[in-house]
Amino acid sequence: MTETIKMKLIYPRWKKLPGQTTFNLPPHGPVAYAATLPEYVDIDFVDENVEELNFDDPCDIVALSTMLSTQVKRAWEIADEYHRRGKTVLAGGISAMLHAEEFVKHVDSLFLGESEGRSEQALIDWKEGKLKKVYNFMGKQPPIESVGPCRRDLYKRDLYNHKGVQMVDLFHASRGCRFSCYPCAVSYLGGRKFRPRPIDKVVEDMAAIDNNRLFIVDNSLAQDKEWEKELFRAIAPLKKKWISHTIEDDPEVLDLAAKAGAWYVYQAVYDTSDYIKERVRRYHDNGIGVEGTILLGLDNQTVDDCKRLIDFLGEIDLDLAEFTIMTPFPHTKAYDDYLRQGRIFDFDWDHYNAGQVVFKPAQMTPDELQGVYEYAWQSFYASETQESKMFRLFCNVALREMNEGTYRPRNRALANKSFGKEVDRTVKTHQNAF
């Protein structure tokens, strides 16, 4: 029998953006990786965003899983501390791949690519004293059929709970992307080919999740219309409610999505056209909410253009809006362009949070872009707070669930907790708010 290996699997913390409502969702990457490990690995998962990391906890080996650029420096700090304690540190994940050249200097072994069917080799090599510096599977994706259910049993569920309301579970129905969008690195990470998971696997996986609310994190579901329709028909009986990125702009697809439980979608709002207005209306006509995603600082935008775009949002009845500053993440076309043009002035990855300007915009100063970003958040949420708008979306889904008999009342035992911490019930008044 193979000896048990005790692994500390860590999802490093990052600094949340100021002024925005903080929600901590159970991370997907670490539990997707954990599912590919052999049974003899005893995993202790720590998400630093909701709990303290205790370096003294016993373990044989450490694995770091990172998604965001803003996690990598913290990951390196953690690796350095474990090295001081004589532990071997492995790493992988989206931002480990994006920042691989630097990452590899901080860890004993870096895993690049998708881990299905491949994660055990590093452990075997480690036990034999032959651990490689890099396990490189970039561009060599495993069969999509090998992607199985994530190890969601590793979550400490109570920590992903806000005042008794369970946060959505992240789920993926496909990998890869056939689009090459300007600010996006997904095609570099997951391949330029859309790789849908077999529908029966998706259904089986989704059905087993102990949560009626999901976030289907696929880059875009609008990549293969027939698969998309088949997916929606297949998941409808599960009566889950879900958030996703863009859905195909097709009456039949939107109707099927609504019947399959589409709660709200993230839709890019990039201009003030009637097309965008109609796109949002068509979602709403199908009972699907819309969170607009607005990217500020593109080369064709002036300050006035940005403000016109922000004003336009008031005309299209968005349920929520999320503003981000254009950020040239490595392995995107934006990064290549700005690098060639000598426009990136900040390479501190902690600042690559999409809320801070790290490059010289083409038609405004960095300070002007920063100002437009602040203005956007303040202006959109001036008449109703983000939390209040979110609450309305939440009520919509709760009502739908009640009608379908799937509503789960909030957990009253956690009513005074928010992501593991006590809720501050102090009522703010003008006198004590400042």
Binding site: M138, S180, R192, H331, K333, L339
Partner: protein, 123 residues
């Protein structure tokens, strides 16, 4: 977003970041004792690393494959026009000097400059 073949004579396979299989468009021209190497980003046809990210590693692989002396090469990166409505997919050329610091490594060439180079090469 397919790149027109007018931008290249051949598609050149190369090993990108972490040896990822990658592909670029390639044109090589000679004029006045210099060799002009024009690499074109193929976007969706390129399964791996972009030509910009690959940088000097790509130049070296081209020189090895074509038996060129890197010191005698003028290296030009091309962002081809993809007929996209998005301005950042317009045609652009950059002359690259890998010996220069990051701020001065890329010099944007006007279309006229590129036409002049190609006409010197008999096009």
């Amino acid at each position: 977003m397919k790149v027109s073949p007018k931008y290249y004579d051949e598609q050149f396979p190369f090993l990108g970041e972490w040896d990822m299989e990658s592909l670029c468009g390639l044109k090589i021209r000679e004029a006045d004792g210099r060799t002009y190497v024009i690499v074109t980003e193929l976007y969706q046809e390129n399964p791996g690393t972009s030509v910009t990210y690959a940088g000097e590693k790509l130049l070296q692989q081209i020189c090895d494959a074509k038996k060129l002396n890197p010191a005698a090469v003028t290296y030009i990166e091309c962002n081809p026009d993809t007929n996209s409505k998005l301005s950042f997919y317009d045609e652009e050329y950059f002359k690259v000097d890998f010996n220069a610091d990051q701020q001065h490594r890329y010099r944007r060439l006007e279309s006229e400059d590129v036409k002049k180079i190609l006409s010197q090469c008999g096009e």
